[in-house]
């Protein structure tokens, strides 16, 4: 499933940041417990295959958001890099991905031409967000460039705001020169 840039920005996390190794371990243990209960059919939340698929999809989304947030925090210098945190996030993400793929494949095998699980698309979309983190795992480091690590308010904020206000837009009738961009631009203009 294709996730546009706009969608990915809108999916930016709103969850509480998890920064300490012990908190990461607590978080992942809690997710695993939820999924164990789900797999065992405990409670009402996973009373059907669709409900299980949705539960797994939510867990994958939450994991993706948390790993990305941790990465951005290290990148911006808000927290130091810790190998133990890196290992914990990677291990937990791989475990969740494998569990989710297993459920996905089982559900896909149960589908028949006239019956689709609505939760299957949600899980596919969630895996589409999680898997790219695992494929060629990148360990975060403090930013080399200044924008992320020096993003603080400066004394000349009013001057900057005035200059921003004075920036002129692209001229009326402007369109991109690139063929792909032009096509996207025209589609966006219609919506």
């Amino acid at each position: 499933m294709f996730v546009t840039l706009a969608q990915s920005v809108l999916m930016m996390d709103t969850t509480k940041p998890i920064r300490k190794v012990e908190d990461i371990l607590d978080f992942t243990a809690s997710l695993n417990l939820q999924l164990d209960r789900c797999d065992n059919g405990e409670g009402m939340e996973c009373s059907s295959m669709d409900a299980s698929l949705e539960r797994y999809a939510n867990c994958c989304c939450e994991m993706t958001q948390q790993v990305k947030r941790w990465g951005r925090d290290v990148f911006a210098g808000r927290i130091p890099y810790e190998q133990a945190a890196d290992d914990a996030w990677f291990h937990a993400s791989v475990t969740l991905n494998n569990r989710a793929v297993e459920l996905h494949d089982r559900a896909q095998g149960m589908e028949i031409p006239c019956y689709d699980f609505s939760g299957l698309n949600k899980l596919r979309a969630a895996l589409y967000g999680l898997y790219p983190l695992l494929d060629g795992w990148v360990s975060p480091r403090r930013s080399v460039g200044p924008s992320a690590r020096q993003a603080t308010k400066s004394a000349g904020m009013e001057t900057v705001q005035k200059r921003i206000t004075e920036l002129r837009p692209l001229p009326k009738g402007w369109v991109p020169a690139d063929v792909r961009q032009l096509s996207v631009f025209r589609k966006a203009s219609k919506t």
Binding site: T4, L5, A6, S8, V9, L10, M12, V67, K68, R69, G71, R72, F75, P132, L133, D135, G136, V138, P140, R141, S143, V144, G145, P146, S147, A148, R149, Q150, A151, T152, K153, S154, G156, M157, T159, V160, Q161, R163, I164, L167, R168, P169, L170, P171, K172, G173, W174, P176, A177, D178, R180, Q181, V184, F185, A188, S189
Partner: protein, 173 residues
Amino acid sequence: MPPAISLIASRVDLGGDDFKLIVNWPYNDSFVARVLKSDIPQRVKFGNGRIWLFKDPMGQPVGFGTFDVCEDYGHHTHGKPHPYIPLLAVNPTIKSLGYGTSIVEYLVAEAALTVKELRSCSDVLFLDVYTNNTRAIALYTRTGFQQLEGPINDPDEGAQYIIMGRRVSVANE
């Protein structure tokens, strides 16, 4: 100013040959290689970063450009995410024929598309550049960017940089 040269852009994957190609170009400024190897993969993985390789009509790779939507300068956009150019470079092994201008214009257009699609995004495209990089500052000024802030001290690099911006919404839209 001569018109920008038409280039062919293709998306670059971190694990692909094109990324290896641009990482291994012999940049005059080691900062470019460090940002490309360390920052850009993180912007792709943890943010909304994207990379393009640009080729001339003969198929020769002439440069690359990167783009992100982030909140690095959110303190200037009332907390809104904004388009940002982390890095671009012309292939240092060839004679540049104005490729930098074409790459910047492509990235400006990408920012314009993003702003059009994502209404919660600020319509100011930001970048930062060290003050000793006068060629880059001239390029950005030529392509419509204006200095917004600086010079700012960067103790990590032992240098000063300025923040530049350009509005990427289209007039009367």
